[in-house]
Every structure is written in structure tokens, then in C-alpha cells.
């Protein structure tokens, strides 16, 4: 049987921005459209995101869903090595972490995948 889906990085389905408070990072995930949002609801779960950030050892991951703006907000506690004043990371705020999440692979139906490539928003 031939494949009906393909793995694509999250950035083809959503955009994102990370913010920090203390040792907690919040990372928004904003679907490019409704079809993308539906796939993300299934696949971008608290467990899958926690696993993707495994090397940062989150103490807790919470997903808040905002269906009216087809977005989610992930709150990842304890992932900033202490946060802006404490971490030795160059990026103590974890500002770049949205781009780590945007590399996460998502299973996408082939037909949708075709439409998503090279889109300019």
C-alpha cells in the first residue's frame, strides 16, 4: 500500500513565538489555516511536545487551546536552566525555542502537504 501521509516540520503548518517568565517558557503555535489546526490538535499534544523538549527536562507541560484564533499556547515549566538571570545559555530568555518546536515533525496527508510547500503568508 502506498503512503498517504508524509512527515513535515511544524513550520509548514503553523507559526510560533516564545516568551519567558522566570524558568517557564510559553510557546504559541498558530495554525496557518483550519485544516492545519485540526491536524495539530491531534498530534501536537502535551506528551509529544514534552518529549520533543526532553533534553530540557520540563517539569510540566500544559496545552491551552484557543479555537477561535486556531491557536494553542504551550506552557513549559522548568526548561530554561533557571531563566534569564540564571542560565548559561547565550539565549537566556529561550527566545529561540519557538524555532526548536517549529522543527517538530507532523504527519500530514499528501494532498495537504502539496498545498503547504512554498506558501508565503
Amino acid at each position: 500500500m502506498s503512503r498517504t501521509t508524509i512527515e513535515l516540520p511544524l513550520h509548514l503548518l503553523a507559526h510560533s513565538r516564545a516568551g519567558d517568565k522566570g524558568n517557564t517558557s510559553n510557546i504559541s503555535v498558530i495554525a496557518w489555516d483550519t485544516e492545519c489546526f485540526q491536524l495539530l490538535l491531534e498530534q501536537l499534544t502535551e506528551a509529544s511536545v514534552a518529549a520533543w523538549f526532553g533534553h530540557r527536562h520540563p517539569t510540566k507541560v500544559t496545552r491551552y487551546v484557543l479555537p477561535k484564533i486556531e491557536s494553542m499556547n504551550f506552557v513549559l515549566e522548568g526548561i530554561l536552566d533557571g531563566g534569564v538571570n540564571d542560565a548559561l545559555n547565550l539565549d537566556t530568555h529561550g527566545k529561540g525555542l519557538s524555532f526548536w518546536l517549529l522543527e517538530m515533525p507532523i504527519e500530514v496527508p499528501l494532498q495537504l502537504a502539496d498545498r503547504l510547500s512554498n506558501q508565503i503568508y
Binding site: H11, R17, H55, L90, W100
Partner: protein, 452 residues
């Protein structure tokens, strides 16, 4: 009678932001018939740094770029009744007010009425004792650099209602810079949670400056932004019921649309049903965003609930020294040479100092302090990398070993290393807690200006 709509512009998103975005905001406010100009300049650690400056010189400790922000627009703001509201007072709002009087005098302007909000600073010895008890911390009070409560919008509102042209604050919650003027303008009650929630989220959309209008957004070829070199700062139009729209200063670059607005709406939000400020618990669970014109969005569906019982406090304290040093390796086996250099330094001083090693160009900011991701190996093709070594220690001389070791790689390290740079700076750490409201004596006064 319904008050006419209020326009609030925000011309900086942090201390160190561009200062030339102010003029287009003021031009736009004038064209709209007036409004309020705000500057947000206090990130978490900014106030501690300002406190250190104030210790060195009692006339310092406010926003270092104050002159650049205020001077070019002060005349037009006073002429057109545009109020200025900002937390650029940082650790020394009185000194900031004196500086603005001086700027006005130097330009031959009328003497502005400047209000100064006080009460956020909690560094009196008895206040610190209570805070440390509350924090359950046994750190030496002598190590504490700053302790500030987040005040709300009430004092700003009262000062504006009393006729202040300019309101200078230290630590207030960022959205209060917008909510305060809205409270003063519309006369909303301090327990009208719905309107307070709306005014707070209008402030939230503005508080990071261009982050809602095309800044911090662009990915070339995917989500482009025109005119990155002259992005317009944002302005909110708020009506008497709390409904609001966001747009940007006229004749500027940038973009305001569904996508930029969604990114900023969720920025630094945790539970969307419970965005806590000193003024209200704002709720964006059912928020919607609509593009109503080019570069203009309306946000609906925001509401609010009763404010938190207590105020948030940040305490910043000295916590040793951070030393960072870098050296570059380029060409064949660059990554391997940089990794060997890092390993060498760990062998020599890793037992003395907590170290972090980055190979910039191969793996740095995605990695963790413990090096767990790096240990899994990284295969990025990297033939032009920079080794970064960061270390912390309570003793400055020990922390400085990091730069000594990186420097000595010139002769003793792997082949071809070059371009060493290093720095050492005091490290500040933060503790947070909440305190009862009556612990804080918040208020405002009109700053007394010295006539010369």
C-alpha cells in the same frame, strides 16, 4: 454622554529599543486629535541594573535613553496635549522627572506638570526582612540589589485626572501604562472587570512596541515584512466600552494583521483565561481578531475577572560573576577542533567552575546547560564555528579563569583558532513572591522642579 475614543501609542518595547519610532507615533496622534504616548522600558532585570546605577550616582538610575525618547517630541506633545506615560523612571522616577524639567527648560517650553508614582520600591531594611521571610530565603540582605512590587493603573489614572502632562513610574505592570490613561479618560470603575480586562489586553498588545506591527515576526520567504528598517510602532484605539483596535503609525514599514496580532496576543501569556495583573484577571479564551482595514485589526471577545488578591514582587540579588569567552575555528575539521578546545578547558578548570560549552554555528542556543543535546551528537555541516565557554563563580578572580583559558588557546589550543573575545559581568538572580496589597504604600505626587 459617551466619551470619544482614546488613542494610546507605544513607542518602545524595552530599554534599548529603537528611539526613532517616536516621532511617527506622535505625528499620527496629532493627526487623530491627540492621545497618550507611552514608553515601556522595564524588563525583569532592567530595574536591578538601574538600581546599581543609582547607587553609583543618586542622579542616575532612570532609563539611560530618556533624553533620546523625550527630547525630540516634548514640544509637540505639550503643544497638542498628548500625555506621556512611562515606566522610564526605573529605580529613580524623581530624577527622571527632574531631567524632563531640564529638557523642557532647555527648549524654552512651558513647565510641564509631571507626576511621579511611588511605592513600588521595597528596599527599606524592614521591608526586605519581611520579603525574605515571605520568600523563605536566607540570602544575606546585603546581596539584594532591588525589590519592587508591580503596581497597577490606579495611580497613573489619578495623576492624569489631576491634570498631569507626564506620568513617570518605576515598576508597574506593563499593560497598566495603557489601562491607566483609559481609566482616567473614560472614568471606568476600578471593579468593572470586563472593561479593565479589555484595557489591559489593549495594553498587552502595545507593550512590546513593534512586536505587534511586524517586529520579531519576519521569516524571509515565508512571512515577509516590508520596511524592516522603519517599522511603525503601534497605536490602540479604545472606546468607552473597552472595545479596541490596533494599528501602526502612519507612513512607516511593518505589518499589522491577523498573524502579527495573534503572535503578540499570546506572547508571555500562560493560562489564557487568567492573565494576571495588579488591576484585573484578564481573559482571552474567547478572543477573536478581525482585519478591519489594511494594517488594522480589531480584537473582540476579551473580558476580565476579579483582580488577584496580592501583588507580585521581584527581588534581584547579587549572585557572583558570569565570564564568557569565545574563539573561532574555520575550515576543515573546524567543529572537531572547537570541540577539542572545549574539552581541554573543561579538563583544566571544569572542577573549579560551572561551565557551559557551545559550538556556535553547529549547536548553541537549542542546547541545554548540561550539554545533554550536544552529547547526542549533531550533524550540521559546520566549517565556520565559534567555541563559546561560559562560567559562573561567586569569586570574580575564579570566574575570570574562563577568559584566561580561552585566551591561552591561541598558543596551547588546537590548530587555527582566532578572534578571541571575552567579557565578565556581575550576575543578578531573581526571586519572586506575592505580598498583601497593604504591604505597599502606593501613591503619586507632582514632582517639585528646581528652577534655575
Amino acid at each position: 454622554m459617551t466619551a470619544k475614543n482614546l488613542f494610546v501609542g507605544c513607542a518602545t518595547g524595552f530599554s534599548g529599543d529603537r528611539t526613532d519610532g517616536t516621532a511617527p507615533v506622535v505625528d499620527t496622534l496629532i493627526a487623530l486629535g491627540g492621545g497618550v504616548l507611552t514608553f515601556e522600558t522595564l524588563a525583569e532585570r532592567t530595574l536591578a541594573l538601574a538600581q546599581i546605577e543609582k547607587r553609583k550616582n543618586p542622579l542616575h538610575g532612570y532609563e539611560p535613553l530618556l533624553d533620546d525618547l523625550v527630547s525630540p517630541v516634548l514640544r509637540r506633545c505639550l503643544d497638542h496635549s498628548i500625555k506621556i506615560v512611562s515606566n522610564f523612571g526605573a529605580a529613580n522616577p524623581q530624577a527622571a522627572a527632574q531631567r524632563i524639567y531640564a529638557l523642557a527648560r532647555a527648549q524654552g517650553l512651558r513647565r510641564p506638570r509631571i507626576a511621579v508614582v511611588h511605592g513600588d520600591d521595597l528596599t527599606q531594611p524592614e521591608q526586605l526582612q519581611s520579603l525574605l521571610k515571605r520568600l523563605g530565603s536566607n540570602i544575606d540582605p546585603a546581596r539584594i540589589v532591588s525589590a519592587n512590587a508591580y503596581l497597577g493603573a490606579q495611580q497613573i489614572s489619578e495623576a492624569l485626572q489631576d491634570g498631569a502632562d507626564i506620568v513617570v513610574t518605576g515598576r508597574v505592570s506593563d499593560p497598566s501604562l495603557t489601562l491607566g490613561p483609559a481609566l482616567a479618560h473614560f472614568g471606568w470603575s476600578m471593579d468593572d472587570w470586563h472593561k479593565l480586562g479589555c484595557g489591559t489586553m489593549a495594553g498587552h498588545m502595545l507593550e512590546c512596541g513593534t512586536q505587534v506591527s511586524g517586529g520579531y515576526f519576519c521569516v524571509p520567504g515565508q512571512k515577509p515584512v516590508e520596511g524592516m528598517d522603519r517599522i511603525g510602532f503601534p497605536i490602540a484605539e479604545i472606546d468607552s466600552q473597552g472595545n479596541f483596535s490596533v494599528f501602526k503609525a502612519a507612513n512607516t514599514g511593518g505589518r499589522v494583521d491577523l498573524r502579527t496580532a495573534k503572535e503578540q496576543l499570546l506572547y508571555e501569556v500562560h493560562n489564557p483565561a487568567s492573565y494576571l495583573t495588579p488591576d484585573v484577571t484578564a481573559d482571552i479564551t474567547n478572543a477573536t481578531i478581525t482585519e478591519t482595514a489594511a494594517n488594522r485589526v480589531r480584537i473582540d471577545g476579551v473580558t476580565g475577572h476579579e483582580r488577584p488578591a496580592e501583588l507580585k514582587v521581584n527581588v534581584c540579588y547579587d549572585n557572583g560573576w558570569l565570564c564568557e569567552a569565545e574563539i573561532s575555528y574555520a575550515g576543515f575539521k573546524a567543529k572537531e577542533r572547537a570541540m577539542l578546545a572545549g574539552d581541554t578547558i573543561c579538563k583544566r578548570i571544569g572542577h573549579l567552575i560551572d561551565l557551559r560549552i557551545d559550538i556556535i554555528g553547529a549547536l548553541s542556543i537549542f542546547g541545554d546547560d548540561a550539554g545533554e543535546l550536544a552529547a547526542k551528537g549533531f550533524n550540521a555541516p559546520a566549517n565556520d564555528v565559534r567555541l563559546r565557554v561560559a562560567g559562573v563563580h561567586m569569586q570574580k578572580e575564579t570566574a575570570e579563569k574562563v577568559s584566561r583559558e580561552v585566551l591561552s588557546l591561541y598558543c596551547c589550543g588546537p590548530a587555527g583558532g582566532g578572534g578571541v573575545r571575552s567579557s565578565i559581568k556581575p550576575r543578578l538572580d531573581t526571586l519572586s513572591c506575592t505580598i498583601p496589597r497593604d504591604f505597599v504604600d502606593a501613591g503619586w505626587t507632582i514632582a517639585q522642579g528646581q528652577r534655575t
